[in-house]
Symmetry: C2
Subunit: 321 residues, 2 copies
């Protein structure tokens, strides 16, 4: 395992190539990932989610800097749906973040949305493992948007940051199901804007109404001011950064760490299962032309999707029907 060894030694080029292979589902990448798995589990994984335009990349940029001051090595994974129209969601922010590219203690990579078999979520999990095996102390995973897929990706994190900005309409309403429930830290970004106080109060009311078990973590609501006022911004980021590491400290020392790790592991296994089970069947259906034939049958209304897919299940599944 030449590649595996290199990655464990922190080799940036080997790690980059493996992450690209993971993204492209290159079959050979599997053996390296298997090899690396026992060397994972040391990094703190921090998920950052929130609406597009909430300023997540700017926060990550600040968190990198603050983490480096604390002498922590950093991995950043930007999960980035690319489109022919936009050419990547937030190119400007990405470029800004690249100022850390010269720092050997920082490793930044992005992953794009591909396919439709739920492969992205698995790719994210694998890419996190790569950075973890490289020895990064903290890995920031930034997701764009608030869709179901983002909710899934966030399951890989120890610490979940939900970033909100005032004046985006009905903020609290707009938060997708599942996100609020798993937030560990709320961030009100661009807090110099009108409505920041109201948003903060709404969040705090919501947290108060939620049932937190004794000894459980009460999600704090932090505000971050205008990033064009560097000194104030740095102070706010510093507070956020401390909270992020405090949460991990809390988790490691609390009885809840087991639950959180189990949730992470279960999620990762389910993603792997989804790919391992669906892919061989789909590949067979496509390569034999069976899929096209079934579509023809459906277009002629000679059968229905449910009956056809039950037939496929009978043909390709064993021992579980």
């Amino acid at each position: 395992m030449e590649t595996g060894k290199k990655i464990k030694a922190g080799d940036v080029r080997a790690a980059s190539r493996l992450i690209r292979d993971i993204e492209d589902s290159v079959p050979e990448s599997k053996s390296t990932i298997k090899h690396l798995f026992p060397y994972t589990g040391k990094a703190q994984v921090v998920g950052i989610t929130g609406s597009p335009g909430a300023g997540k990349s700017t926060l990550v940029d600040g968190l990198i800097e603050s983490s480096r001051k604390k002498e922590k090595t950093v991995g950043v994974l930007a999960v980035d749906p690319t489109s022919p129209f936009t050419g990547g969601a937030t190119l400007g922010d990405r470029i800004r973040m690249q100022r850390h590219a010269e720092d050997p203690g920082v490793f930044i990579r992005s992953l794009a949305t591909r396919g439709s078999l739920g492969g992205l979520s698995k790719a994210v999990g694998d890419a996190i493992h790569v950075m973890d095996a490289m020895g990064k102390d903290v890995i920031f995973v930034e997701t764009v948007g608030t869709g179901q897929q983002e909710v899934e990706i966030i399951h890989y994190a120890h610490t979940v940051l939900v970033v909100l900005v005032p004046g985006m309409g009905d903020e609290i309403q707009a938060i997708k199901a599942g996100i609020m429930e798993i937030a560990d830290i709320f961030v009100v970004n661009k807090a110099d804007r009108e409505g920041a106080g109201k948003l903060q109060r709404e969040l705090m009311t919501m947290i108060e109404m939620s049932k937190i078990p004794p000894g459980g973590w009460r999600p704090p609501v932090l505000t971050i001011g205008n990033s064009f006022k560097p000194e104030e911004f740095a102070i706010d980021i510093e507070k956020l950064s401390s909270k992020v590491f405090e949460h991990y400290e809390y988790l490691v020392n609390s009885e809840f760490i087991g639950d959180r790790l189990r949730r992470k592991t279960t999620h990762e296994l389910l993603e792997a299962l989804r790919v391992s089970i669906l892919e061989p069947v789909m590949r067979m259906l496509v390569s034999t032309g069976e899929l096209n034939r079934m579509v023809d049958i459906l277009m002629r209304k000679e059968s229905d999707p449910c009956s056809l897919s039950e037939e496929v299940a009978k043909k390709y599944l064993q021992g579980c029907l």
Copy 2:
């Protein structure tokens, strides 16, 4: 098939019960859906997507009214992620829409996000079939958010409306991959707000830059004014409504209808396959305790997710490995 017959006769109670059963994955619902499939394919399915707070429900409300004036019967399916915190995303709008509840020509139902096996998208497809078999002329499917799941749901539609509002930040950037590419009509909502003209121009530039084949549909960009000015709003909605039906006319008479129907059918089949193949395996893994055992193994780092899920595939798949 007593239930099937009732639904074909337009029975609201039977249809509501079936949709609820679909949502809850009640096994018995399958046979009714199979029975109804040959009676589907007559309705125009219109997908409406856009960011939370873009005013989609208000538009749908207007489109219902306009469609009824054109003597079309209407189905509305609101795909609605519910959360314990919000209790459903847009309760207010939902209530407003209910003013049509007395009209026997209008049938409104919502579907909530459930589970994680991609079951929602299949449920949406099945619920559309129910309304189609009921004989509704047009079915509006409103999705909340711009996640991958919404992109998938929109594949069920003949006509896709993408709703944008000015002043939500970097609107064009924020549009999730896949949505822009499948939009048939762009709607700039709340067009009396600052930035509406700019947004409209950006969209038109984007459309001009995209490659539309000869005879292809060029997505129009329509503006909708303030819904608190009922007369202006009604005029704008009327234009939008006409465009929606014009698009269907175009589709039915164009060479591209085959492609669109094939895409819809393929998507539906893939969703059905996903459920039929994954569910039996997952059920078996959970009921035998195998899933928990595998999580234990992973937590002890005695194996890795990839190897374990390959073993599962070997055990439960046949003829495709």
